[in-house]
Protein backbone atom coordinates (compact mmCIF):
# COMPACT_ATOMS: atom_id res chain seq x y z
CA UNK A 1 0.00 0.00 0.00
CA UNK A 2 1.59 3.19 -1.22
CA UNK A 3 2.13 6.05 1.19
CA UNK A 4 2.05 9.74 0.42
CA UNK A 5 4.52 11.67 2.57
CA UNK A 6 4.65 15.46 2.63
CA UNK A 7 7.81 17.25 3.75
CA UNK A 8 6.65 20.62 5.03
CA UNK A 9 7.53 23.37 7.52
CA UNK A 10 5.81 26.68 6.90
CA UNK A 11 9.11 28.51 7.25
CA UNK A 12 11.55 28.66 4.35
CA UNK A 13 15.19 27.63 4.43
CA UNK A 14 14.84 25.03 7.18
CA UNK A 15 15.79 22.05 4.99
CA UNK A 16 12.67 20.70 3.29
CA UNK A 17 14.29 20.08 -0.07
CA UNK A 18 17.47 18.66 1.48
CA UNK A 19 15.30 16.35 3.59
CA UNK A 20 13.13 15.28 0.64
CA UNK A 21 16.21 14.37 -1.40
CA UNK A 22 18.04 12.70 1.50
CA UNK A 23 15.11 10.65 2.76
CA UNK A 24 13.77 9.85 -0.70
CA UNK A 25 17.18 8.40 -1.54
CA UNK A 26 17.43 6.62 1.83
CA UNK A 27 14.01 5.01 1.28
CA UNK A 28 15.15 3.87 -2.17
CA UNK A 29 18.37 2.50 -0.68
CA UNK A 30 16.16 0.53 1.73
CA UNK A 31 14.56 -1.16 -1.29
CA UNK A 32 11.44 0.98 -1.56
CA UNK A 33 10.16 2.35 -4.86
CA UNK A 34 10.18 6.10 -4.38
CA UNK A 35 9.14 9.19 -6.31
CA UNK A 36 9.99 12.66 -5.03
CA UNK A 37 7.62 15.37 -6.26
CA UNK A 38 8.52 19.06 -6.28
CA UNK A 39 5.51 21.26 -5.48
CA UNK A 40 7.43 24.54 -5.49
CA UNK A 41 6.03 25.82 -8.78
CA UNK A 42 8.00 28.75 -10.16
CA UNK A 43 10.92 28.19 -7.79
CA UNK A 44 11.84 24.57 -8.27
CA UNK A 45 15.03 23.35 -6.65
CA UNK A 46 14.62 19.67 -5.94
CA UNK A 47 15.94 18.90 -9.45
CA UNK A 48 19.11 20.85 -8.63
CA UNK A 49 19.64 19.18 -5.25
CA UNK A 50 19.09 15.78 -6.89
CA UNK A 51 21.48 16.62 -9.76
CA UNK A 52 18.82 16.19 -12.47
CA UNK A 53 18.49 19.85 -13.50
CA UNK A 54 19.85 19.30 -17.00
CA UNK A 55 17.45 16.46 -17.73
CA UNK A 56 14.07 18.09 -17.04
CA UNK A 57 11.79 17.74 -20.08
CA UNK A 58 8.27 17.78 -18.65
CA UNK A 59 7.01 18.78 -15.23
CA UNK A 60 4.15 18.34 -12.78
CA UNK A 61 2.03 21.03 -14.42
CA UNK A 62 2.47 19.46 -17.89
CA UNK A 63 1.12 16.23 -16.39
CA UNK A 64 -1.75 17.94 -14.55
CA UNK A 65 -2.70 19.73 -17.77
CA UNK A 66 -2.44 16.55 -19.83
CA UNK A 67 0.36 17.81 -22.09
CA UNK A 68 2.58 14.94 -20.96
CA UNK A 69 1.92 11.50 -19.58
CA UNK A 70 3.31 10.72 -16.18
CA UNK A 71 5.96 8.21 -17.37
CA UNK A 72 7.31 10.86 -19.74
CA UNK A 73 7.74 13.41 -16.98
CA UNK A 74 9.37 11.14 -14.41
CA UNK A 75 13.17 11.39 -14.30
CA UNK A 76 14.86 8.20 -13.18
CA UNK A 77 17.74 8.77 -10.77
CA UNK A 78 21.12 7.79 -12.25
CA UNK A 79 22.43 6.39 -8.97
CA UNK A 80 19.40 4.60 -7.52
CA UNK A 81 17.14 2.78 -9.95
CA UNK A 82 14.10 2.71 -7.64
CA UNK A 83 14.18 6.51 -7.23
CA UNK A 84 12.40 8.94 -9.56
CA UNK A 85 11.80 12.68 -9.63
CA UNK A 86 8.75 14.60 -10.81
CA UNK A 87 9.97 18.18 -11.19
CA UNK A 88 7.98 21.36 -10.69
CA UNK A 89 7.58 23.86 -13.46
CA UNK A 90 10.00 26.78 -13.44
CA UNK A 91 8.08 29.17 -15.64
CA UNK A 92 4.34 28.70 -15.30
CA UNK A 93 2.46 30.42 -12.54
CA UNK A 94 1.37 28.50 -9.50
CA UNK A 95 -2.35 28.84 -10.21
CA UNK A 96 -1.84 26.24 -12.92
CA UNK A 97 -2.06 23.59 -10.20
CA UNK A 98 -5.48 22.56 -9.01
CA UNK A 99 -6.71 20.14 -6.42
CA UNK A 100 -8.43 17.77 -8.81
CA UNK A 101 -5.42 17.56 -11.15
CA UNK A 102 -2.97 17.01 -8.31
CA UNK A 103 -5.28 14.32 -6.92
CA UNK A 104 -5.23 12.49 -10.24
CA UNK A 105 -1.44 12.59 -10.46
CA UNK A 106 -1.00 11.42 -6.85
CA UNK A 107 -3.46 8.57 -7.40
CA UNK A 108 -1.51 7.47 -10.48
CA UNK A 109 1.80 7.69 -8.61
CA UNK A 110 0.37 5.53 -5.80
CA UNK A 111 -0.06 2.73 -8.35
CA UNK A 112 3.61 2.57 -9.30
CA UNK A 113 5.50 3.56 -6.14
CA UNK A 114 5.71 2.59 -2.47
CA UNK A 115 6.39 6.16 -1.40
CA UNK A 116 5.27 9.45 -2.94
CA UNK A 117 7.35 12.13 -1.21
CA UNK A 118 5.96 15.64 -1.74
CA UNK A 119 8.39 18.53 -1.25
CA UNK A 120 6.23 21.44 -0.10
CA UNK A 121 6.96 25.07 -0.89
CA UNK A 122 7.42 27.41 2.06
CA UNK A 123 4.45 29.39 3.30
CA UNK A 124 0.86 28.43 3.98
CA UNK A 125 -0.60 29.29 0.58
CA UNK A 126 -2.06 27.19 -2.18
CA UNK A 127 1.17 25.35 -3.09
CA UNK A 128 1.79 24.24 0.50
CA UNK A 129 -1.86 23.21 0.86
CA UNK A 130 -1.79 21.16 -2.35
CA UNK A 131 1.46 19.46 -1.29
CA UNK A 132 -0.13 18.25 1.96
CA UNK A 133 -3.64 17.71 0.59
CA UNK A 134 -3.40 13.95 -0.08
CA UNK A 135 -0.79 13.07 2.56
CA UNK A 136 -0.91 9.97 4.74
CA UNK A 137 2.26 10.96 6.59
CA UNK A 138 3.91 14.30 7.23
CA UNK A 139 7.42 15.30 8.19
CA UNK A 140 7.49 18.75 9.74
CA UNK A 141 11.02 20.05 9.33
CA UNK A 142 11.86 22.28 12.28
CA UNK A 143 14.99 24.21 13.24
CA UNK A 144 15.73 24.75 16.92
CA UNK A 145 14.76 28.38 16.67
CA UNK A 146 11.60 30.22 17.81
CA UNK A 147 10.21 31.35 14.45
CA UNK A 148 10.59 27.88 12.95
CA UNK A 149 8.79 26.26 15.91
CA UNK A 150 5.96 28.76 15.63
CA UNK A 151 5.54 28.09 11.90
CA UNK A 152 5.65 24.33 12.51
CA UNK A 153 2.78 24.72 14.95
CA UNK A 154 0.80 26.54 12.29
CA UNK A 155 1.48 23.80 9.74
CA UNK A 156 0.48 21.07 12.22
CA UNK A 157 -2.85 22.84 12.60
CA UNK A 158 -3.32 22.78 8.83
CA UNK A 159 -2.38 19.10 8.59
CA UNK A 160 -5.12 18.43 11.14
CA UNK A 161 -7.78 20.39 9.28
CA UNK A 162 -7.05 20.96 5.59
CA UNK A 163 -6.04 17.51 4.38
CA UNK A 164 -8.29 14.90 2.81
CA UNK A 165 -7.53 12.59 5.75
CA UNK A 166 -8.58 15.25 8.26
CA UNK A 167 -11.79 15.94 6.36
CA UNK A 168 -12.63 12.24 6.50
CA UNK A 169 -12.13 12.29 10.27
CA UNK A 170 -8.82 10.44 10.03
CA UNK A 171 -5.38 11.70 10.99
CA UNK A 172 -2.26 12.40 9.01
CA UNK A 173 0.62 10.65 10.76
CA UNK A 174 2.85 13.55 11.79
CA UNK A 175 6.55 13.49 12.65
CA UNK A 176 8.92 16.26 13.73
CA UNK A 177 12.36 16.26 12.13
CA UNK A 178 14.81 18.64 13.77
CA UNK A 179 17.42 19.87 11.30
CA UNK A 180 20.48 22.14 11.56
CA UNK A 181 20.97 21.02 15.13
CA UNK A 182 24.25 22.14 16.68
CA UNK A 183 25.09 19.97 19.72
CA UNK A 184 27.78 22.32 21.02
CA UNK A 185 25.47 25.33 20.97
CA UNK A 186 22.72 23.26 22.54
CA UNK A 187 25.12 22.22 25.32
CA UNK A 188 25.84 25.88 25.99
CA UNK A 189 22.11 26.54 26.27
CA UNK A 190 22.07 28.76 23.18
CA UNK A 191 19.52 26.68 21.36
CA UNK A 192 15.96 25.85 22.30
CA UNK A 193 16.09 22.26 23.56
CA UNK A 194 14.59 19.34 21.70
CA UNK A 195 12.46 18.41 24.70
CA UNK A 196 11.00 21.91 24.73
CA UNK A 197 10.23 21.77 21.00
CA UNK A 198 8.50 18.41 21.33
CA UNK A 199 6.52 19.55 24.34
CA UNK A 200 5.36 22.69 22.57
CA UNK A 201 4.45 20.92 19.33
CA UNK A 202 3.11 17.75 21.03
CA UNK A 203 4.22 15.67 18.06
CA UNK A 204 6.60 12.68 18.06
CA UNK A 205 10.21 13.05 16.94
CA UNK A 206 11.47 11.25 13.84
CA UNK A 207 15.11 12.29 14.03
CA UNK A 208 17.69 14.96 14.72
CA UNK A 209 19.90 16.05 11.83
CA UNK A 210 23.09 17.82 12.92
CA UNK A 211 24.24 20.99 11.18
CA UNK A 212 27.01 19.89 8.83
CA UNK A 213 29.23 20.98 5.97
CA UNK A 214 28.37 17.70 4.27
CA UNK A 215 24.88 19.01 3.44
CA UNK A 216 26.35 21.93 1.49
CA UNK A 217 28.89 19.69 -0.24
CA UNK A 218 26.13 17.33 -1.32
CA UNK A 219 23.98 20.11 -2.76
CA UNK A 220 27.02 21.58 -4.54
CA UNK A 221 27.50 18.36 -6.48
CA UNK A 222 23.78 17.60 -6.85
CA UNK A 223 23.57 14.41 -4.86
CA UNK A 224 21.38 13.62 -1.82
CA UNK A 225 23.60 13.67 1.29
CA UNK A 226 22.60 10.07 2.06
CA UNK A 227 24.12 9.05 -1.30
CA UNK A 228 26.97 11.52 -1.54
CA UNK A 229 28.55 10.70 1.81
CA UNK A 230 26.63 7.93 3.60
CA UNK A 231 29.15 7.83 6.46
CA UNK A 232 28.69 11.52 7.31
CA UNK A 233 26.81 12.55 10.44
CA UNK A 234 23.78 14.04 8.64
CA UNK A 235 23.52 11.03 6.32
CA UNK A 236 23.53 8.61 9.25
CA UNK A 237 20.88 10.73 10.98
CA UNK A 238 18.73 10.72 7.83
CA UNK A 239 19.15 6.95 7.48
CA UNK A 240 18.04 6.46 11.11
CA UNK A 241 15.02 8.73 10.56
CA UNK A 242 14.15 6.72 7.45
CA UNK A 243 14.30 3.44 9.37
CA UNK A 244 11.99 4.91 12.00
CA UNK A 245 9.62 6.00 9.27
CA UNK A 246 9.59 2.39 8.07
CA UNK A 247 8.60 1.26 11.55
CA UNK A 248 11.86 0.36 13.25
CA UNK A 249 12.41 1.41 16.84
CA UNK A 250 15.84 3.00 17.25
CA UNK A 251 17.38 4.89 20.14
CA UNK A 252 17.32 8.63 19.45
CA UNK A 253 20.80 10.07 19.24
CA UNK A 254 22.57 12.78 17.32
CA UNK A 255 25.29 11.28 15.14
CA UNK A 256 28.46 13.30 15.43
CA UNK A 257 31.23 14.02 13.00
CA UNK A 258 34.11 11.61 13.13
CA UNK A 259 37.04 13.86 13.87
CA UNK A 260 40.72 13.13 13.94
CA UNK A 261 42.82 13.99 16.96
CA UNK A 262 44.25 17.09 15.36
CA UNK A 263 40.83 18.36 14.43
CA UNK A 264 39.65 17.85 17.97
CA UNK A 265 42.67 19.74 19.30
CA UNK A 266 42.13 22.57 16.90
CA UNK A 267 38.44 22.67 17.59
CA UNK A 268 35.80 23.08 14.95
CA UNK A 269 37.16 23.15 11.44
CA UNK A 270 36.48 26.20 9.36
CA UNK A 271 34.20 25.89 6.37
Amino acid sequence: MAKVLVVTSGKGGVGKTTTTAAMGAALAQAGQKVVVVDFDVGLRNLDLVMGAERRVVFDLINVVQGIAKLPQALIRDKRLDTLSLLPASQTKDKDALNEEGVGRVIAELRNSFDWVVCDSPAGIERGALLAMRYADEAIIVTNPEVSSVRDSDRIIGMLDSKTVKAEKGERVNKHILITRYDPSRAARGEMISIDDILEILATPLLGIIPESQDVLRASNVGSPVTVNNPASAPARAYHDATRRLLGEVLAMMVPSEKRGLMNLLRGRRAA
Binding site: L48, G51, E53, R54, R55, V56, V57, F58, G66, A68, K69, P71, Q72, Q90, T91, L216, R217, S219, N220, V221, G222, G260, M262, N263, R266
Partner: protein, 96 residues
Protein backbone atom coordinates in the same frame (compact mmCIF):
# COMPACT_ATOMS: atom_id res chain seq x y z
CA UNK B 1 51.37 26.31 12.25
CA UNK B 2 53.43 24.36 9.71
CA UNK B 3 53.77 21.49 12.17
CA UNK B 4 50.01 21.41 12.63
CA UNK B 5 49.62 21.33 8.88
CA UNK B 6 51.95 18.36 8.73
CA UNK B 7 49.76 16.46 11.15
CA UNK B 8 46.49 17.46 9.63
CA UNK B 9 47.63 16.47 6.15
CA UNK B 10 47.05 12.87 7.20
CA UNK B 11 43.39 13.60 6.91
CA UNK B 12 43.16 15.36 3.59
CA UNK B 13 40.37 17.85 3.25
CA UNK B 14 37.57 16.57 1.00
CA UNK B 15 37.86 17.88 -2.56
CA UNK B 16 36.38 21.33 -2.99
CA UNK B 17 32.83 21.11 -4.30
CA UNK B 18 32.22 24.83 -4.87
CA UNK B 19 33.69 24.78 -8.43
CA UNK B 20 31.25 21.99 -9.34
CA UNK B 21 28.38 24.05 -7.95
CA UNK B 22 29.52 27.06 -9.97
CA UNK B 23 29.74 25.03 -13.20
CA UNK B 24 26.29 23.48 -12.69
CA UNK B 25 24.70 26.84 -11.97
CA UNK B 26 26.30 28.54 -14.96
CA UNK B 27 24.94 25.92 -17.35
CA UNK B 28 21.50 25.88 -15.75
CA UNK B 29 21.12 29.64 -15.59
CA UNK B 30 22.31 30.13 -19.16
CA UNK B 31 19.35 28.02 -20.26
CA UNK B 32 16.84 29.48 -17.80
CA UNK B 33 17.70 33.10 -18.55
CA UNK B 34 17.02 32.48 -22.19
CA UNK B 35 13.60 31.19 -21.19
CA UNK B 36 12.56 34.02 -18.92
CA UNK B 37 13.80 36.69 -21.34
CA UNK B 38 11.60 35.56 -24.15
CA UNK B 39 14.10 33.64 -26.24
CA UNK B 40 12.60 30.40 -27.44
CA UNK B 41 13.86 27.26 -25.81
CA UNK B 42 15.31 25.48 -28.82
CA UNK B 43 15.16 22.02 -27.30
CA UNK B 44 11.51 22.39 -26.33
CA UNK B 45 10.67 23.84 -29.75
CA UNK B 46 12.37 20.94 -31.53
CA UNK B 47 10.66 18.45 -29.26
CA UNK B 48 7.23 19.88 -30.05
CA UNK B 49 7.79 20.14 -33.78
CA UNK B 50 9.27 16.66 -34.11
CA UNK B 51 6.31 15.17 -32.29
CA UNK B 52 3.88 17.23 -34.37
CA UNK B 53 5.43 16.01 -37.63
CA UNK B 54 5.36 12.39 -36.57
CA UNK B 55 1.82 12.57 -35.25
CA UNK B 56 0.69 13.96 -38.62
CA UNK B 57 1.47 10.54 -40.08
CA UNK B 58 0.99 8.17 -37.18
CA UNK B 59 -1.36 8.11 -34.22
CA UNK B 60 1.24 8.50 -31.49
CA UNK B 61 0.79 6.51 -28.34
CA UNK B 62 2.10 8.94 -25.72
CA UNK B 63 3.23 6.00 -23.59
CA UNK B 64 5.54 4.90 -26.41
CA UNK B 65 7.28 8.22 -26.77
CA UNK B 66 10.35 8.81 -24.63
CA UNK B 67 11.98 12.22 -24.71
CA UNK B 68 15.29 12.76 -22.97
CA UNK B 69 17.33 15.91 -22.72
CA UNK B 70 20.75 16.70 -21.42
CA UNK B 71 21.66 20.35 -21.26
CA UNK B 72 25.36 21.05 -21.52
CA UNK B 73 27.59 24.09 -21.66
CA UNK B 74 28.53 23.80 -25.33
CA UNK B 75 26.31 20.99 -26.53
CA UNK B 76 22.87 19.87 -25.50
CA UNK B 77 21.24 16.66 -26.62
CA UNK B 78 17.62 15.90 -27.41
CA UNK B 79 16.74 12.26 -27.72
CA UNK B 80 13.28 11.41 -29.04
CA UNK B 81 12.53 7.73 -28.95
CA UNK B 82 9.26 6.86 -30.69
CA UNK B 83 8.06 3.31 -30.82
CA UNK B 84 6.01 2.74 -33.99
CA UNK B 85 3.82 -0.31 -34.48
CA UNK B 86 4.53 -2.17 -37.72
CA UNK B 87 0.95 -1.84 -38.86
CA UNK B 88 0.58 1.88 -38.85
CA UNK B 89 -2.66 3.43 -37.79
CA UNK B 90 -3.35 6.64 -39.68
CA UNK B 91 -3.21 9.76 -37.59
CA UNK B 92 -6.42 11.04 -36.13
CA UNK B 93 -7.27 14.69 -36.21
CA UNK B 94 -6.40 15.15 -32.56
CA UNK B 95 -3.85 12.91 -30.99
CA UNK B 96 -3.18 12.23 -27.38
Amino acid sequence: MSILRLFSSRRPAPPATAPIARERLQILLAHERGLTRGQPDLLMLLREEILAVVSRHVALDPEKVVVRMERGRNVSTLEVDIELPNELEPARAATG
